[in-house]
């Protein structure tokens, strides 16, 4: 059987591989190439060396957006994972209606980011109007607005992953800990969390990279107001690309820098949480 499957390896791999090459590898290589060029459409580009990178690093708003994004990623990482874990713990207890609650908490994740952004913008601005202010007037209002928005959207998703992790913890281990006299707090920290490390690795990876890559919600909720101070990296790249004629290459260079940063952070985080995973 195994041999037979191996024989058909190319057939099974080919569709995915083709999609991966067309949808990822090819645009990526093109993108890196274009970051060294000046161009209007991607098909006719003129090589200009590293001047795009020089311009990208000189851009103070780009640096601001990096720190703003990093802070956002950290705060959203903590808020989302703590809440999702707590919900998962609550919803794996034996009580009535857990499935309904799981469904409800998961549902925000099914709505697109742009739509969510506009809906929350109405909600927030409706409340802020009572205090004679608005999201677009203060970068920190925008920041916390975004945190609330992405938490609402992503907690349910992470919760599902944590629930799956919790359910895979063997009952005997918990029972043994209980017989040994561990109280519920000790059981959580000494048994549940170490056993959950694979789920935690996935969830932290997803939420930190989502935090960095956030675009639609940022575009629709604050659009970078006031004066680009709430502009996160992905939106900054987009605005650089389309904001001025002749700056497409700079946007592309920023995108490459952005890619390197996200990959580096993702790898560091993976290594850090992987090392804490235990064998069951």
């Amino acid at each position: 059987m195994e041999k037979a499957i191996k024989r058909y390896l190319p057939i099974f791999v080919l569709p995915t591989l083709a999609a991966f090459i067309i949808g990822f590898i090819a645009p990526f290589i093109m993108g890196v190439g274009l970051s060294f060029c000046e161009f209007t459409t991607v098909k006719d580009a003129k090589f200009v060396g590293i001047s795009n990178y020089v311009k990208a690093f000189q851009d103070t708003i780009f640096r601001h957006s990096f720190w703003y994004t990093a802070l956002f990623a950290i705060v959203s990482l903590i808020v989302i994972n703590v809440c999702a874990f707590a919900l998962a713990l609550a919803l794996t207890r034996k009580m009535r209606g857990t499935n309904i609650f799981r469904t409800i908490f998961f549902m925000p994740n099914l709505i697109g980011g742009i739509v969510l952004g506009y809906i929350w913008q109405l909600i927030f601005n409706g409340i802020l109007a009572k205090y004679s202010t608005a999201l677009a007037l203060n970068q920190w209002l925008g920041f916390w607005g975004l945190i609330i928005l992405v938490s609402w959207q992503q907690i349910g998703y992470m919760m599902i992953i944590y629930i799956a992790g919790l359910q895979s913890i063997p009952g005997e281990v918990m029972e043994a800990a209980q017989i040994d006299g561990a109280n519920s707090w000790q059981r959580l920290w000494k048994v549940t969390i170490p056993m959950m490390m694979p789920s935690i690795t996935i969830c932290t990876f997803l939420s930190i990279t989502n935090g960095f890559k956030l675009f639609d919600q940022n575009l629709s909720l604050t659009a970078g107001e006031p004066s680009k101070l709430s502009e996160m990296m992905a939106l900054n790249i987009y605005n650089t690309f389309y904001g001025r004629s002749g700056w497409e290459g700079v946007g592309q260079a920023k995108a490459v820098i952005f890619f390197v940063i996200v990959v580096a952070i993702g790898l560091v985080q993976l290594r850090a949480t992987r090392s804490k995973e235990v064998q069951q």
Binding site: A4, Y8, T41, K43, S132, A136, S227, R244, S245
Partner: protein
């Protein structure tokens, strides 16, 4: 075992074949000859003959104006029926034209007809602009001012002339005790607006609609209103464009902006959330007298009644404004993609020519109510071509009246604004200033205006 794997293989094969088939479905339309009378068949052969005469050219128009999408689609269909040349019209979503154009231009079937907004827009697309100097449509222009030149080559042709100013509700203005004759300068406008604000509760309406700074409305202020200080500065310095704006008239800009935001239907701190639709709604429900917008907005405000609509120049208190008219110009230039095939270029030129000369075309472009063959409203444009028809848009007629009465139209200098980034910078600063009207916040507007201009002009080089 063997059988099962064969079955699996067959299934995989079937799956991939159907996938590929899905991808490859090309849009081959069946040409159906209308059945019935002989005459119809004859007409069909005629049409077929003509289409071969026109070659294999096709037209792909990337349209800038979402409000006219339906009309262009209909016109495209009519043209195809008449000549057999396929015409595709795609309309970019509001505010996304450059984005759409950039991605469409990279495709194999790129737009053959596209738009730029003026000299700054042309800078990024000049390599794609076919020289229209010798085209038939260039000969139809009534005034060379509407040709967009890139050195010696005619890169674009403006196809619609538009006018903006302060649209006002005549009945409400009279109710407040004034008429247009009372407003001849910025001081008059200020006096009237502030008087209305003072008696707001008694009158039941405000002077201005909300100056929304949401993305759907902020262009009215960061671009159109900002045109006035730039226009007067260019006029004073006798130039058409500059890399370093001085901001001579920025105090006037501040005055008119103060007037707009402090005499409006809403608190100035809420402007960042107000949309273009909000302003329209306030205007048509008679909550405010004045609404800054242009001839293109006629359909939105038509329900107030044609006789009830007037337009005022946007006075900012500059010298010589007693002769100032409305702001008239174009930011819609047609360009033909020079990288398209010869046949496509020819087909596109023919289509443009047909639009501005044929009876159906000019009627669709200039006409108002039920001007389209299907009975829908036309585009209501004023076109700078010989085929221009009398407009049924009262705002256009008001604009013409100003010119006839000897007022000088204000040119659209905003096409010389150095970049989108510049506009956004000014817009953000205006929003912040509106919420907290301190001198420091105004200094930020000035900085975005003057320093931002120099910076963006240098960056866009």
């Amino acid at each position: 075992m063997k059988k099962r794997s064969l079955l699996a293989l067959a299934m995989v094969g079937a799956l991939s074949v159907s996938m590929l088939a899905g991808c490859g479905s090309s849009s081959t339309k069946e040409t159906q000859a209308p059945a019935g009378s002989e005459a119809a068949t004859e007409a069909a052969t005629e049409a077929a003959k003509e289409s071969t005469a026109a070659g294999d050219g096709k037209v792909y128009y990337l349209n800038f104006k979402p409000e006219q999408d339906a009309q262009w689609q209909e016109l495209a269909k009519l043209y195809t029926e008449e000549t057999g040349v396929p015409v595709t019209v795609l309309t970019a979503a509001s505010g996304n034209y450059e984005t759409t154009l950039k991605s469409e231009m990279a495709k194999t079937d790129a737009p053959t007809l596209f738009q730029v907004n003026g000299p700054v827009g042309l800078a990024s697309w000049k390599d794609y602009c076919y020289d229209l100097k010798d085209s038939k449509i260039a000969g139809e222009l009534t005034n060379d001012e509407f040709a967009l030149m890139d050195g010696d080559s005619m890169a674009g042709i403006g196809y619609v002339i538009e006018t903006y100013g302060i649209i006002y509700n005549k009945a409400l203005l009279e109710k407040a005790g004034y008429t247009q004759d009372d407003i001849k300068s910025f001081d008059d406008l200020k006096k009237v607006a502030e008087d209305i604000t003072a008696r707001k509760d008694e009158l039941g309406f405000s002077a201005f609609t909300s100056a929304g700074m949401d993305g759907s409305s902020d262009w009215r202020f960061k671009t159109h209103l900002a045109n006035l200080p730039i226009y007067y500065e260019y006029k004073a310095d006798d130039i058409d464009t500059t890399d370093a704006i001085k901001g001579t008239y920025l105090d006037n800009y501040r005055n008119i902006w103060n007037l707009y935001i402090n005499n409006a239907t809403c608190d100035p701190s809420l402007l960042s959330t107000k949309t273009g639709d909000d302003a329209v709604a306030e205007f048509v429900t008679e909550q405010a007298v004045f609404y800054q917008n242009g001839t293109w907005a006629y359909n939105d405000v038509a329900e107030l009644g044609d006789d009830n609509l007037g337009m005022l120049p946007i006075y900012i208190g500059a010298e010589g404004e007693d002769k100032q008219g409305l702001c008239t110009g174009t930011e819609n230039y047609w360009c033909v993609n020079s990288k398209a095939s010869e046949a496509d270029i020819q087909a596109t030129l023919d289509f443009m020519y047909w639009c501005v000369t044929s009876e159906v075309g000019t009627k669709a472009m200039c006409g108002g109510e039920s001007a389209m063959p299907s009975g829908d409203a036309g585009m209501g444009f004023v076109i700078p071509f010989k085929g221009n028809l009398e407009s049924s848009n009262p705002l256009v007629n008001i604009a013409n009246q100003y010119v006839a009465d000897g007022y000088t139209p204000v040119a659209w200098t905003f096409s010389t604004m150095p970049s989108e980034e510049w506009k956004n910078g000014v817009g953000s600063a205006l929003t912040t200033y509106a919420a907290d009207q301190t001198d420091d916040n105004w200094a930020a507007v000035v900085s975005a205006f003057v320093d931002g201009w120099a910076k963006e002009a240098a960056a866009s080089k």
